[in-house]
Symmetry: C2
Subunit: 277 residues, 2 copies
């Protein structure tokens, strides 16, 4: 058995000699979703390329990942480019590519990242953590599509808004709250936070109590946490909350938050999701 954490395995990137900021990696089956890796893992991989780049300034503030096509099995390339470096902020563009069946390199994913050197300032938390019982009071339950590998990489404890058990079109809200941590203990970091921002099953399933094909098209995550906060959290549970806002003509948006167990808002995330019918 490998002693490397499955997320760290997914995040393994090799510097290419071809040019600065070009990395090669490979999709891992541990985080496989239905037709490619879990989108959260892909987001984490792209962020990792920025964190590994020799010219990095500061820490991640914002990450937008656009899922242009399913990532296939095997090798991929990620090009991370710092297109503008200011005194305290840095702007990145990223492209993930893979060879198609004809040997032509195709774009599977694009991303932008903003990093910054943060300074201590006044602060306030205007989005209080919902009052819910602690994780120990909930059973760890596998849910979501069966046979999907990535689900097993997380210890998720549903507080409210579970995947419907009866698909009878009876849904009337789209809010899920859950405790989440890596199934195999791992200290929280920016890549893990980027991945966990995408752990929520499609809101449309809950809202309709109907399982229709759905997939994230674009996700944006803002990082409020810093490295010291995450080190202190270690492998502890985060409280995740996700809610749909508008469902219309094939797309809905989801607003999500991740808090530490002691109520610090670590990340806020939004995504737009395709759905059928």
């Amino acid at each position: 058995m490998s002693t490397t954490h499955p997320l760290d395995e997914a995040l393994q990137l090799r510097h290419s000699d071809l040019r600065v900021g070009l990395f090669t990696g490979a999709s891992t089956l541990a985080y496989w979703n239905m037709v490619g890796p879990f989108g959260g893992t892909t987001a984490a991989v792209l962020l990792q390329a920025v964190l590994r780049h020799p010219d990095l300034l500061g820490a991640p503030i914002a990450l937008t990942v656009n899922f242009a096509a399913a990532v296939g099995e095997g090798e991929f390339e990620v090009q991370a480019t710092p297109v503008r470096t200011n005194r305290s902020t840095q702007h990145w563009t990223l492209t993930q590519t893979q060879l198609d069946a004809n040997g032509v390199r195709q774009v599977t994913t694009t991303a932008t990242v903003v990093t910054a050197v943060r300074r201590e300032t006044w602060g306030a938390a205007d989005l209080a953590m919902p009052q819910v019982p602690p994780p120990a009071q909930f059973a760890s339950a596998s849910f979501g599509p069966s046979g999907v590998a990535w689900i097993d990489q997380y210890d998720m404890r549903l507080v409210s808004g579970s995947v419907p058990t009866t698909w009878d079109d009876s849904g009337h809200h789209s809010e899920t709250r859950l405790w989440v941590r890596d199934a195999q203990a791992r200290t929280l970091d920016f890549c893990a936070l980027a991945a966990m921002s995408d752990v929520f099953f499609p809101r449309v399933w809950l809202r309709r109590a109907k399982r229709v094909p759905a997939g994230t098209v674009s996700i944006t995550t803002y990082f409020h946490a810093d490295a010291a906060q995450m080190a202190a959290i270690g492998s502890g549970f985060l409280l995740g909350q996700a809610c749909g806002q508008q469902f219309r003509n094939g797309f809905f948006d989801q607003s999500a938050q991740l808090w530490s167990e002691d109520g610090q808002l670590l990340a806020t995330s939004n995504q737009i999701v395709y759905y059928k019918e």
Copy 2:
């Protein structure tokens, strides 16, 4: 006097002969902010490059704009590239550049856009419009930083959460509601919606009742409206709502929504904003 609407003037892009998707435009003083054009206008200009591109598929779904540096007066270039075109979705990357004082072309802005051919599906609105009195019951009031040109391009009617009149550190919330439309009548479209998503003054001013330097670093807008809805709205008022979520070590995020007067959620938008102190 020009008969062109100031927004249409700002959106004027010329095709460059150099390569497909390369446009040239110029920043206009009508939307000038403190150290460059209003970010909403810049977002609209980048979206316009996609809408003008000969290979466009469908209509805008998602727009992320990263403000890497202030756009200066005069000419700029926008390169819009469709990096992946699927059956019903298309993924775009964009870069806006300007020559610096040394004649070197520098990146001022990056963006990604997703467009899609939408089909009629089931839908639901889970974010109801707040109940507020109609726009006619509020006075049109110029607010925000005085001497900033772009403010005058909008007819904004503050419902709640105005810019503090006393800067005494007494703030205790960060929610603003306002009615907004173009000051000079113009039928709503995707570019106008992108711009209006950014009309809210910095949440940190309201939250602290303290005016500190602040500027949007990255904004993401999801479009729920289609062209027919916007044509029906015409030049009518939209209800905008914006709220800060987490303020910490130099950055806060803002969640915003825009509804038509009859309660249709047209766009949801999030941004991360730098602030000092």
